[in-house]
């Protein structure tokens, strides 16, 4: 479908998954991962209040800036890198078609 975008995700074992994500369902990356039954807990349900969906952005897409909540959570998360994001804060939009991400280690 033309509404769909593709996300390339590297899991914790190094395996690459091709995820087809709809852009018209108000979904975020954590939810897409769960829909594909990938090992992403999404403990807090997507409120940027846990770091179970932390991932590293490995392509040069420009994402929406980190919100204050995401910034605060990442400051208390572990294994944080400069390219760390919370999957639940990345909305599926046309602008991120082809995004490459890698899951952070689970805590």
């Amino acid at each position: 479908m033309s509404q769909d975008i593709t996300i390339y995700l590297t899991d914790r074992e190094g395996k690459i998954h091709t995820l087809i994500a709809p852009t018209d369902m108000q979904m975020n990356l954590m939810e897409i991962c769960k829909a594909y039954e990938l090992p992403v807990e999404g403990t807090c349900g997507g409120m940027a209040m846990c770091a179970s969906c932390q991932c590293y952005v490995e392509s040069d897409h420009t994402l929406a800036e980190r919100s204050e909540d995401e910034e605060a959570m990442l400051s208390e998360a572990f294994y944080v890198e400069a390219n760390s994001r919370l999957g639940c804060q990345i909305q599926m939009t046309k602008a991120i078609d082809g995004l490459k991400i890698r899951l952070a280690p689970s805590e």
Binding site: E41, T43, C44, M47, C50, E71, S75, E76, E107
Partner: protein
């Protein structure tokens, strides 16, 4: 030994509402929860967040939902074992279950309902080498006995309310307090942030930001930590290191109770009563799984209701029972309280 009819493990919304449905059937409940207060995730993770999909509440704060549930179940006088985690279960000769907590409190009931959500809340532990070795040898995640820190050198890490609150509290007790956080901004009550700022200005605490603890050192017990402050490595002598990074739920010991587990959740029979593979043990709310499962509070309420009806039949197999409506029967609390619809007024017109 605490004895009850339905022993509920987990005092989140689902576990709390089960007390109400059990009470309507004259069954008594006791709740165990690892957190020090009822409410589960709603109380621990997001008390200030609004929920929009609770039937008949267009909007309700998670914390208020818990408060309302506590009020709703109060007439049924539930017992609570809070701040303790259920760790083991055994069956007695009389077909009852005995559940023991990590503090050794024992509970006996003919029916156990696991409403444990995502599991027991445990401290989030930073990935530091030797961290486990130094646990109880200088590293702790929860402050149980503040006197332990008297005249000691303490390092706290974290950027939320607990890190701020304990920094303020321990400043009066410890020989020195150092607070370390990954960035300059703190996410906590404004009042606490200002107090810590004041303590720092007066030189009563040491604040190191943006920085991160990278190593723990010591022989038999902790004697120092290393801190990376934007590339510069600082070594800080200390007796105690307290990482306060919040709590995260883990299924924990329940996973070893012989229950059928699928995808980190307990499999139940959803065609009937949410019973597990062990008769007499039910699983309701986010902790269970079945075809079509949705982790929603409203689904937990439904599951709790069906569980209670089944538990009644299990406890009183000889008693006949039909579903009663509160609009008809009212609510008779175990505390003697009585709620009943007002009688219609009938008056003749002459």
């Amino acid at each position: 030994m605490i004895k009850t009819d339905i022993l509920i493990i987990g005092a989140g919304p689902t576990g709390l509402f089960a007390v109400f449905e059990a009470g309507l059937l004259q069954l008594k409940c006791h709740l165990i929860d690892s957190l020090p207060m009822p409410g589960g995730q709603c109380a621990e993770i997001y008390p200030k967040k609004p929920i929009y999909d609770i039937p008949s509440h267009p909007e309700i704060l998670a914390g208020d939902l818990v408060k309302n549930l506590e009020q709703q179940i109060a007439p049924f006088q539930p017992g609570y074992t809070l701040g303790e985690s259920a760790i083991s279960i055994e069956k007695t000769a009389e077909n009852a279950f005995i559940v023991t907590t990590d503090k050794g409190t024992q509970h006996q009931a003919p029916v156990v309902a696991i409403a444990g959500g995502l599991g027991t809340f445990e401290p989030r532990k930073p990935p530091l080498k030797n961290l486990a070795f130094f646990e109880d040898k200088g590293v702790s995640y929860i402050i149980k006995e503040p006197e332990m820190y008297r005249d000691k050198n303490v390092v706290i890490a974290g950027g939320g309310d607990s890190a701020l609150d304990w920094t303020i509290f321990l400043e009066n007790v410890a020989a020195s307090v150092t607070l370390i956080h990954r960035r300059n901004e703190f996410r906590g009550a404004l009042d606490s942030v200002e107090k810590v700022q004041h303590l720092k200005n007066e030189g009563r605490i040491q604040l190191i930001t943006p920085a991160e603890v990278t190593a723990l050192e010591g022989d038999a017990k902790l004697s120092s930590i290393s801190v990376d402050k934007q590339g510069e490595i600082l070594k800080i002598d200390c007796d105690h290191f307290i990482p306060l990074f919040g709590l995260t739920p883990k299924l924990g010991p329940i996973a070893n109770w012989g229950l059928e587990i699928e995808k980190n959740a307990i499999k139940v029979d959803n065609t009937l009563d949410y019973q597990t593979n062990i008769p007499g043990i039910y699983a309701i709310g986010d902790v269970n799984t079945y075809p079509g499962k949705l982790k929603l509070i409203l689904c937990g309420f439904h599951e709790a209701t069906l569980m209670c009806q089944s538990a009644f039949k299990k406890i009183y197999p000889e008693k006949r029972n039909v579903l009663k409506y509160t609009t008809v029967s009212g609510v008779s609390g175990f505390d003697g309280s009585q709620k009943q619809a007002a009688k219609s007024t009938i008056k003749a017109i002459e």
